[in-house]
């Protein structure tokens, strides 16, 4: 029966080619636009570090003065002052913890004839590597003792190693950053979490990869400039080492819910203690954000993309209503034919199945068109110079999802028209013949 209905469906669709083409185009456009945006959102809101994200937390304490303006949209600032970050680091109440900040430094190539160039990197403390499970293809990270000793050591990315040292090993070599020599002690393996979740989330969160990591204390001693947001209030003493400028990011690893609860209590105790000493004028309300919650709060997916997704879904909705109306008109026009079939003994569900298959054919064709349009859409996004552009690829889930969406959409769109059509009164329509 299925084959027969399929033949009937194709025959019927061919009879009104323009309407059929219109329906396929509408569903294809709607699905294509929606799937392009859903794919981009899916890729951007993915887990940057799946095997560890459950144990990574951002502690948020609020050292700001009373008149400090909170940002709109409830985006939380977890940036810390040097004083607070160093306290939490030394207290070591979490399994692992690290303070960090983005830095941009001029790097001098080994051949002094070549011109120095700028690279993005991070100033971090020792736990950074074990806490995030950073793979190293050679060498190792540094220890807390190195942090204390302000060691001139550096871990570089494989790209930077190739750029500086060619195909030779880099460990043990010397690298000049700004005006200081560093000893390379490690080379990163393949590690480019997208987004770079551990940094301040800004419009460079996607597509950037840090090229070097060096000890935070060393960077501070050498007065290397940190880049990114820095918020200050009051002014006395060195802003970077003060208790009134927030600029550091802080991450902790907590392996269980109990540890997380205990750590939050610890943070609140710290806030109250600081309050007693005249800092933290606002109510003590320390928070711990899990990694994925943190990314959601920081709006790692730009608002414009979210808007584009809603626009695409709205468009799909209008296309669907359009198709429902067209199918309804098309099916009801065949009331006579349906009446004859019913009179000859076809059951309602036979008619329903036949009409359902007809619209599923439209759905498949629309899905195929939608897939092509989505691939085109993703291709055009990849050509944009945005950081997230390179993520715009369709994986298997998205590919199957596209087809499922197309067929479900068109079968859903056919339900109402088919139900109406199989309820026609055979006698009434045969009489008007």
């Amino acid at each position: 029966m299925f084959g027969y209905y399929l033949t009937l469906a194709i025959h019927s669709l061919r009879r009104s080619r323009i309407i059929t083409a219109l329906m396929i185009a509408a569903i294809g456009l709607g699905i294509g636009a929606s799937m392009t945006m859903i794919t981009v959102m899916h890729m951007m809101s993915g887990d940057p570090i799946p095997d560890r994200s459950g144990q990574l937390y951002v502690p948020v304490i609020d050292p700001y003065p009373l008149d400090h303006q909170k940002s709109k949209n409830n985006i939380v600032s977890a940036d810390m002052t040097w004083v607070d970050a160093m306290y939490l680091l030394k207290a070591a109440r979490a399994k692992r913890q690290a303070a960090m900040v983005t830095g941009v430094l001029p790097i001098h190539p080994a051949q002094s004839s070549e011109h120095p160039f700028f690279e993005f990197g991070h100033f971090v403390t020792a736990d950074f590597f074990p806490m995030f499970g950073v793979p190293l293809r050679e060498g190792s990270g540094w220890t807390a003792q190195d942090d204390q000793a302000h060691a001139r050591v550096i871990v570089i990315s494989d790209d930077l190693r190739r750029k500086l040292f060619g195909n030779t090993s880099a460990v043990g070599r010397t690298l000049r950053l700004k005006d200081t020599d560093f000893r390379v002690i490690g080379v990163l393996g393949d590690w480019q979490p997208q987004p770079t979740f551990y940094a301040q989330i800004d419009d460079r969160a996607f597509g950037r990869a840090d090229q070097f990591f060096l000890p935070l204390q060393t960077a501070v001693e050498l007065k290397f400039d940190a880049s990114g947001r820095m918020a200050c209030w009051g002014n006395n003493g060195d802003a970077r080492l003060s208790d009134h400028c927030t600029w550091l990011q802080f991450w902790v690893q907590l392996d269980s819910a109990n540890e997380a609860r205990a750590y939050r209590t610890f943070l609140n105790d710290y806030c109250r203690d600081q309050k007693a000493h005249g800092r933290f004028p606002r109510p003590a309300n320390a928070q711990l954000y899990g990694l994925m919650d943190w990314l959601a709060n920081q709006r790692v997916v730009p608002d414009d993309l979210r808007m584009q997704l809603w626009l695409a879904l709205g468009f799909l909705g209008v296309c669907m209503v359009n198709i429902v109306a067209l199918l309804l008109a098309k099916f009801l026009r065949r009331s006579n034919e349906i009446s004859v079939r019913r009179a000859l003994g076809a059951r309602r569900r036979d008619i329903f199945l036949q009409l359902g298959i007809e619209s599923a054919v439209v759905g498949f064709a629309g899905g195929a068109l939608g897939l092509t349009i989505a691939e085109l859409g993703l291709w055009s996004i990849r050509r944009q110079p945005d950081g997230y552009a390179q993520l715009a690829h369709m994986d298997m889930t998205m590919l199957l999802g596209t087809f499922a969406l197309a067929v479900i959409a068109s079968v859903l769109a056919a339900l109402l028209p088919a139900w109406r059509a199989c309820n026609v009164m055979p006698a009434l329509h045969m009489k008007t013949q």
Binding site: K223, D303, Q308, F315, A325
Partner: protein, 405 residues
């Protein structure tokens, strides 16, 4: 005049289909109204005047690799050399420019240690910045050479506590001293009092936001003394490219121990800043057009179905005396009724959508004119889409009535 009752009676026989069409028109109207509003909003942002002489400026970012202690001397030498390039009218070293993203903001209070009344971006540069950027001083004066003080980048930017004068934008002056003459008034960007000596009409912040405070900016007489700096050159629009090339060569000849980055014209800087917005505007326009197109096709498709279905009745009406014009009017009226039934709830939906957008995207309220335009556009779209099928209906011969179906 055509009587409505027959049209309505016929529509009730296609209740569901007509309702669906009305729903589609309503949805389209609601979405397109909001999209059009967003497009206008974004285009307005795109066109914000920055306050500087945009098509006469070129810039290059310079980072010295030498000791920071000598930065001021080197900047002066660089600026002097840049001024000697043929075609260069003025050259200054600045720490930031509109659209440059490098934003140093200070809370401005009116009493020592008071609450901040506005948050203003600070622009700092070497003497002559005002003229080199082409800012319009509408009141007061430029800074005197004796008023300039080093920023003190390495000393926690302590220059801010030593300056005595500032130039503010009109917008900031109006916010801080509404209805008063700002000249001579005292503000506190830090702990020390600073007197306003001049007002410029426009100057945008280095990065824009939707809060209506985009022009809260101060010009401070501080000499940027960090190793990273931007040189801005003013020249005739047609000389920009050549001046930019010469600038890099001149700087490198003077001292090669530096990194020069992002040589560009101000026009490029602006274009880069708004690249996302331009893409977004393109997408919004495409979405609106696609929506209108699909809806128009839907209307036309349904109308032609109905024309085919009613061929016999049209024939009968023609046979009993209806003119072609009557038939045409019949379908046009039918369409008008359906579209009207759609746009009225569509307008409500448009407002609801706008409320959601206001909550999430800092958009202002949708002006009523957009709704009126949306209603008019929907009517027009409906009539355009139906005209083809309606003309075909009008062309039906009365003889169809007596033919066998």
């Amino acid at each position: 005049m055509l009587k409505l009752p027959p049209v309505l009676a016929s529509l009730t026989r296609h209740k569901l289909t007509a309702l669906l069409l009305a729903l589609q028109v309503g949805l389209t109207c609601a979405i397109v109204c909001n999209v059009a509003f967003m497009i206008v909003h974004r285009v307005a942002q795109l066109r914000l005047p920055s306050g500087v002489a945009e098509n006469e400026l070129v810039m290059i970012e310079n980072t010295d690799l030498k000791d920071q202690a000598q930065a001021l001397t080197r900047h002066n030498a660089d600026v002097a050399a840049l001024r000697d390039i043929p075609g260069v009218k003025a050259a200054v070293a600045v720490d930031s420019l509109p659209f440059s993203h490098m934003d140093w903001r200070n809370g401005i209070s009116l009493v020592p240690d008071g609450p901040s009344r506005a948050i203003a971006s600070a622009y700092n540069g070497t003497p002559g910045e005002l003229a080199a950027l082409g800012l319009h001083l509408v009141e007061g004066r430029d800074f005197l050479p004796s008023e300039y003080i080093p920023m003190g980048t390495a000393q926690d930017w302590n220059g801010l506590d030593q300056i005595s004068v500032a130039i503010v934008t009109r917008a900031l002056a109006d916010k801080l001293f509404p209805g008063q003459d700002p000249l001579g008034k005292v503000i506190y960007p830090s702990e020390k009092p600073v007197r306003i000596v001049g007002v410029v009409d426009h100057l945008l912040q280095p990065r824009l936001s939707d809060d209506g405070e985009n022009e809260y900016a101060t010009l401070l007489p501080m000499l940027p003394d960090s190793n990273g700096i931007t040189y801005v050159l003013r020249t005739a629009p047609q000389d920009r490219e050549s001046v930019l090339r010469r600038a890099a060569d001149t700087l490198n000849q003077l001292d090669g121990d530096r990194i020069l980055r992002y040589p560009q014209t101000f026009t490029q800087l602006r274009a880069d800043y708004f690249r996302h917005d331009r893409t977004m505007i393109g997408l919004l326009i495409a979405a609106a057009l696609c929506l209108l197109f699909v809806t128009a096709l839907g209307i036309a498709g349904l109308a032609s179905f109905w024309v085919q279905q009613r061929k016999r009745s049209i024939g009968i009406r023609r046979a009993v005396g209806a003119t072609r014009h009557d038939i045409l009017r019949y379908f046009q009226t039918e369409n008008f009724l359906i579209v009207t039934a759609g746009v009225l709830p569509g307008c409500l939906l448009a407002y609801a959508l706008n409320l959601v957008l206001m909550a999430h995207y800092e958009l202002p309220r949708l002006p009523v004119t957009y709704l009126l335009a949306g209603v008019l556009a929907s009517w027009l779209l409906g009539q355009l889409a139906v005209i083809g099928p309606a003309l075909r209906a009008a062309a039906v011969q009365p003889v169809v009535a007596v033919r066998n179906p």
